[in-house]
């Protein structure tokens, strides 16, 4: 027993809190405005040879792989999990894809095989977490360590290159003037949104993440839900792998998706989700991705050496984490309350 009386329930708020989407958008807007000051041409978008060019397009384009990873990660985190292995799954997916292309398969088969391998990786993680009840960080660490080795093995220790019109078109091509990979993200977003909000899955994930024992007593098969979240994350990572590998037209098992798991987690957190689970914000997660990407772009533009990128990122994460910490919130809350006139109870 800890010598603290049970905290009284939070005072009922009379005012409706702002929608969760507001804060990430404000942050993004702030970064973009600063960028606008630094570089007047920042917002200009030109059409060159049927292709859109401009900083904004660049941010969206480059953010695609992380966006795919982050969407899957948002669901895993919603169920109070975490997936550290997505970077390695990107590498595995890239290797599988290159392998199947070399075997001369049809692009449809290649895509199916790659996604199946991604699903398998995710289910492996889910099995460790849901069935063997190993902590998510530790469970996914195993594949994080072994994954790049597996990818290297599939690659035969080389960096196989390939030519594939289909995958080049998918990754670097365009449909009308818009990069085709953006359509992929939009598609994944819509599918995940439908799965979450048009079936009961989203509610179940949030219930499991919010209070697993209550969810179980309400009849939710918590194991299946957990398993599914990791499966989805695996598939998303495989898709990111397809984009990254299609971009370079080669499968590099060591650098593909390097550190991307961290960016994906960061995007989810920036999107307003708590690492303690309970809520999934798909849309704001995408905003989180844009924040990370535009931060990178602004550092480049601001004349600061690109080396500062990681340092700035670290400072941003820390600030967000501290703002999110319940302890800090309570402290700030009580500080605010102390300066407010007391209302009569009830």
């Amino acid at each position: 027993m800890i010598p603290v009386p049970p905290p009284s329930e939070p005072a009922t708020k009379t005012r409706r809190p702002l929608p969760a989407v507001v804060w990430p958008l404000v942050a993004l807007a702030a970064i973009l405005v600063v960028d606008g000051f630094i570089s007047p041409s920042f917002f200009s978008i030109r059409l060159v040879e049927g292709r859109l060019y401009g900083s904004l397009i660049d941010i969206v384009y480059r953010g695609t792989p992380i966006a795919l990873l982050a969407l899957g990660m948002a669901i895993v985190i919603g169920a109070k999990g975490i997936d550290l292995s997505v970077g390695s799954v990107v590498a595995i997916a890239g290797a599988v894809m290159a392998h199947f292309i070399h075997l001369g398969f049809d692009p449809a088969v290649v895509v199916a095989a790659t996604l199946a391998v991604g699903l398998l990786c995710g289910l492996w993680n889910g099995f460790l977490v849901a069935v063997l009840s190993i902590q998510p960080i530790i469970a996914t660490l195993i594949l994080m360590v072994a994954g790049r080795g597996i990818a290297l093995m599939i690659n035969g220790g080389r960096i196989p290159t390939f030519r594939s019109d289909f995958f080049s078109a998918l990754s670097t091509g365009r449909i009308w003037v818009i990069p085709s990979r953006l359509f992929l993200v939009a598609l994944v977003f819509l599918v995940l949104w439908a799965v979450l909000r048009r079936t009961a899955f989203g509610l179940f994930v949030e219930a499991v993440g919010g209070n697993a024992s209550a969810a179980r007593l309400a009849g939710i098969g918590t194991r299946m839900v957990t398993l599914a979240t990791y499966g989805i994350s695996g598939v998303c990572a495989a898709l990111a792998g397809i984009i990254i590998t299609g971009d370079t037209r080669s499968s590099d098992a060591v650098t593909a998706g390097m550190w991307s798991e961290l960016d994906a987690i960061l995007a989810v957190v920036l999107g307003g989700a708590s690492l303690n689970g309970g809520r999934i914000f798909l849309a704001t997660t995408l905003v989180g991705v844009l924040i990370i990407q535009s931060l990178t772009t602004s550092i480049l533009m601001s004349g600061l050496p690109p080396e500062f990128n990681l340092v700035v990122k670290a400072v941003v994460i820390l600030a967000v984490l501290l703002v999110q910490a319940p302890k800090v919130r309570t402290a700030v809350g009580s500080l605010v309350a102390a300066f407010r006139p007391r209302r009569t109870e009830r």
Binding site: I2, I137, G147, L152, M153, L262
Partner: protein, 324 residues
């Protein structure tokens, strides 16, 4: 035999098995030369692993140690290039490492933020600082460093103990004493086993957590210095991913990832097992290098499952306590 000693026995069994495997298949494998190299090549991972052992014993995890090694290397190389004596540079960096570690520990405990994300931040920060200091490899040229790498302590047979190996052994002795023969060490085990109970039993939890990460910072700097001496250079991308090797060394060394159970000496075996796998694969020549990662991943899995089963038997009785 007590259940919580089972993982370390498994570790030693794996180590002996791998060694026997090498001895059977390859001539010259069972020489002190190979052993000496094993110690030298894995010294910095093991030193990082020693710090990680304390962190994991306390129930935490540290993802920043790889960046710390890289940062120390590049910072030291740059300082030496500006005329510092390497030892003075190490001293300054040691203070920095301890302060940064203590800060991380404080944030983790005071704000109840998960250790992995706090140390992740530090990983970004330190790696970023590496790039800020230098984008290229910086050689370390100093008489002291040359003397250090020339230093050998002959072993019977054809082997010797190198400088890094000796630093590692000294660090090990220090870590064993701190972990097993001080109140601080006992408190680390208690906090990792059950922090709430430890608090009620009078353990200063905040001080212990801060101390653990500070200590880990010191080991990280030491590992970085050893690595820099070993390679005679600093490189901003050096040792990326070493945090995973260090964690793997601790887990394969039989320390419970949930905290509270494990031995410092296990980490040494865990690090050496990884080194042995590498050596075996190199000796073999026909096996490819990626097997190293896969085998280590497999070992991680086996040990984590083993730990899970052991924890189940240890806490089976306590868990059945029923509410009123």
């Amino acid at each position: 035999m007590r259940e919580r000693r089972l993982p370390i026995l498994a570790t030693i069994a794996v180590f002996v098995l791998l060694y026997a495997l090498g001895g059977l298949h390859f001539n010259h494998f069972l020489s002190t030369g190979v052993f000496g190299n094993l110690l030298t090549d894995n010294a910095f991972v093991i030193i990082a692993g020693l710090g990680m052992t304390f962190v994991i014993l306390s129930g935490g995890i540290d993802l920043s140690v790889g960046s710390m090694i890289g940062f120390v290397g590049i910072a030291m190389a740059t300082m030496v290039a500006h005329g510092w004596h390497p030892l003075a540079a190490i001293a300054v960096l040691l203070v920095m490492g301890i302060v940064l570690g203590a800060l991380m520990g404080w944030i983790i405990d005071a704000f109840e933020i998960q250790p992995f994300i706090v140390t992740l931040t530090a990983m970004f920060l330190l790696r970023g600082l590496c790039f800020v200091i230098s984008l290229d490899s910086v050689p370390i040229k100093h008489p002291f460093v040359e003397a250090f790498s020339d230093f050998h302590l002959a072993l019977p047979g054809d082997g010797w103990l190198s400088g890094p190996a000796l630093v590692m052994l000294a660090a090990l002795a220090f870590a064993v004493v701190v972990a097993h023969f001080t109140r601080f060490g006992a408190n680390v085990y208690a906090v990792g086993g059950d922090a709430a109970s430890a608090l009620l039993l009078g353990v200063p939890v905040r001080r212990t957590i801060v101390g653990v990460y500070a200590l880990n910072g010191a080991f990280g700097v030491l590992a970085g210095a050893t690595y820099a001496f070993y390679t005679s250079s600093g490189y901003p991308l050096a040792a990326s991913g070493v945090e995973l090797d260090a964690i793997a060394a601790v887990v394969i060394g039989g320390t419970l990832l949930t905290g509270g159970v494990g031995l410092v000496i296990g980490t040494v075996f865990g690090g050496l097992i990884q080194g042995l796998i590498q050596t075996l694969i190199i000796f073999d020549g026909s096996l490819d290098s990626w097997w190293i990662r896969i085998v280590i991943g497999g070992l991680l899995f086996v040990f984590i499952v083993l730990q899970k089963l052991i924890m189940r038997s240890v806490t089976a009785l306590g868990a059945s306590a029923a509410p009123g």
